[in-house]
């Protein structure tokens, strides 16, 4: 009964030369790398970071990012309990803790409370897949100074660490 057919759609410049596209991507890649490297030096360099995550791949990824960002030292543990022992032992200096929320045994939130009771000015970054309202509010009310929803980019990590350096909480 109807009286019209497919709406006419306008597709943009389809025929752009593929070489041009590659050239743009190359330039973009260089610009991003340049910007990242400049940024990286500003926040994490000279910091000793403790990474706490039970997920091997995530822990390795964070460590690699931090090393590429010129962190002075990166120590990693797979649980909150190990992290506390690491902090208490004083074997390696720690200037900032980056922890996952969901871990078997001690959660990231619990770890934060324990770390803060021992070291009240220790900067703490919570990295989590939780993006629901209740989790965000819970983290904030617990006093977690900075919160990152996974996946994490080096730029974002750098921005949060820069914030924590100024505002350890």
């Amino acid at each position: 009964m109807r009286r019209h057919s497919v709406p006419i759609k306008y597709c943009g410049a389809f025929s752009q030369n593929i070489k041009d596209v590659h050239a743009v991507l190359k330039r973009y890649g260089r610009a991003v790398r340049g910007a990242t490297e400049t940024l990286m030096d500003s926040a994490v360099s000279q910091l000793n970071v403790l990474v706490v995550d039970d997920d091997d791949s995530m822990r390795h990824l964070l460590c690699r990012m931090l090393k590429r960002m010129n962190a002075a030292g990166v120590v990693a543990t797979a649980s909150g309990e190990q992290a506390l022992r690491q902090l208490e032992s004083g074997r390696d200096p720690v200037d900032i803790v980056i922890a996952d929320w969901n871990m078997p045994g001690m959660s990231g939130l619990e770890l934060f409370k324990r770390v803060r009771s021992a070291k009240p000015r220790m900067p703490f970054l919570l990295v989590t897949g939780r993006d629901d309202a209740a989790s965000i509010v819970a983290a904030r009310t617990t006093g977690i100074p900075a919160y990152v929803v996974k996946p994490v980019s080096p730029q974002e990590l750098n921005a949060k660490i820069a914030f924590l350096r100024k505002n350890p909480g």
Binding site: M1, R2, H4, D132, R140, V149, S153, A159, F163
Partner: protein, 395 residues
């Protein structure tokens, strides 16, 4: 015929249009309403990633649920929340929690009002709020227009559509609106009317236009017009004159469902009317954007409308999974060629009809008695067409 005019302001993206219409609606009932506009579009690209916007909207949806408000995620990623009865303390708490998500971003750390977000008490600040939303709307409309500017060849057609729409806005189109009934016909029983389809007849419209535009010849012009005609049906038709003895179906472009006119139609028709309204979505719209079609199918169902897929040819019927397409009714076009189908083709068609559910299929454009016979042979009992109208009028 109602005298209100269709809004001729430049059209923005769908959400901006709906927000603008909602803001206009609030003009008469501002008491107790407060709005927060989060300028996420001003954040650095780093914080404009989907996950950030998702987390922010998750937070704000909780507030919206708590205070029975509304949330609009705009095209530029600004988020507008409007709530009635939200306290200043709750607003402060909400703003601080959203800021918390973006710590490390210079803009979020600025305390000054207006940088990261703007808060409006609509009782006193409605004009400022409306102006702010208007600015966002117009800016996004401009960007959208620049992105979708048609090629030079189509410009002349667009200008002709513009002229045609202008011509239509001054005319009373109620005479062009036609009604055709869908009948349930069972052998040996009196036909029962099930619902009426309302549509604008191209022939009658041509007569009203009095030769100024040749719609029969220029189908493309008519296609461009369909959205305007949808809006006419939604906003300018005096529905009370149409009569509402039976449920009604209307043809609608998917794009029309995102317009302020549809919102207005919804508000004015009321909830009780929705269960008696069938929205006929076009098969062509489905092919054009199946993801959008499915989203729209869900949306209209949630709002209580029945969904009908219109314009299905017999060749296409076996290719469609109707559960997946989320339709309540299917309009199968009668085609004389159906009488020539061999046994295997008939078996395939019969299976497709059985899979869809014969009670959900309407055989349309039934121009002669053979169509009814054929329908009965394959299990169809709902029919529509001029042949039936004539037959039943004679009886």
């Amino acid at each position: 015929m109602a005298t209100q005019t269709i809004n001729t302001a430049p059209k923005g993206p769908p959400t901006e249009n709906i927000l603008m219409a909602y803001v206009d609606e609030l003009a008469g009932k501002r008491a107790g309403y407060r709005a927060i506009c989060f300028h996420l579009s001003r954040l650095s690209p780093l914080h404009r990633a989907e996950k950030h916007v998702q987390a922010a909207t998750n937070l704000l949806m909780e507030v919206v649920d708590r205070f029975g408000g509304r949330l609009f995620l705009l095209r530029g990623l600004d988020v507008v929340v409007v709530c009635k009865g939200i306290t200043a303390k709750a607003i402060e708490e909400t703003v601080d929690t959203v800021r918390y998500l973006f710590v490390g971003e210079e803009l979020a750390e600025k305390e000054a009002e207006g940088d990261f977000c703007s808060v409006f008490d609509l009782e006193i600040g409605y004009p400022q709020f409306r102006a702010a939303i208007r600015r966002i709307h117009d800016s996004e409309a401009k960007k959208l227009a620049a992105e979708t500017r048609p090629p030079a060849r189509a410009q002349s057609l667009h200008s002709r559509v513009g002229e045609l729409i202008d011509a239509l806005s001054s005319l009373d189109l109620s005479n062009a609106v036609q009604r055709q009934t869908v009948w349930a016909i069972y052998a040996g029983k009196k036909p029962k009317p099930k619902f009426d389809e309302l549509f604008i007849s191209i022939d009658r419209l041509q007569k009203i236009l009095d030769g100024e535009f040749d719609l029969r010849k220029d189908k493309q012009l008519f296609q461009y017009l369909t959205q305007s005609l949808d809006k006419y049906l939604l906003t300018r038709l005096v529905w009370e004159q149409v009569g509402l003895a039976r449920p009604v179906s209307i043809n609608i472009n998917m794009a029309t469902l995102h317009t302020p006119e549809f919102l207005k139609f919804e508000n004015e028709r009321g909830r009780g009317w929705r269960g008696r309204t069938i929205l006929e979505l076009q098969m062509a719209d489905l092919w054009a954007d199946i993801a959008e079609y499915q989203a729209v199918a869900d949306l209209v169902k949630q709002r209580g409308y029945l969904r009908c897929l219109d314009g299905v040819k017999h060749q296409a019927l076996p290719c469609l999974n109707f559960e997946h397409l989320k339709v309540d009714l299917v309009k199968l076009i009668w085609d004389e060629a159906m009488l020539q189908l061999d046994q295997s083709a008939l078996r395939i068609l019969g299976k497709a009809i059985a899979a869809c559910g014969p009670r959900r299929i309407v055989l349309t454009r039934c121009g002669r008695q053979e169509a009814i016979r054929f329908g009965h042979a394959v299990g169809i009992h709902l029919f529509q067409g001029w042949h039936l109208d004539r037959l039943i009028a004679i009886e």
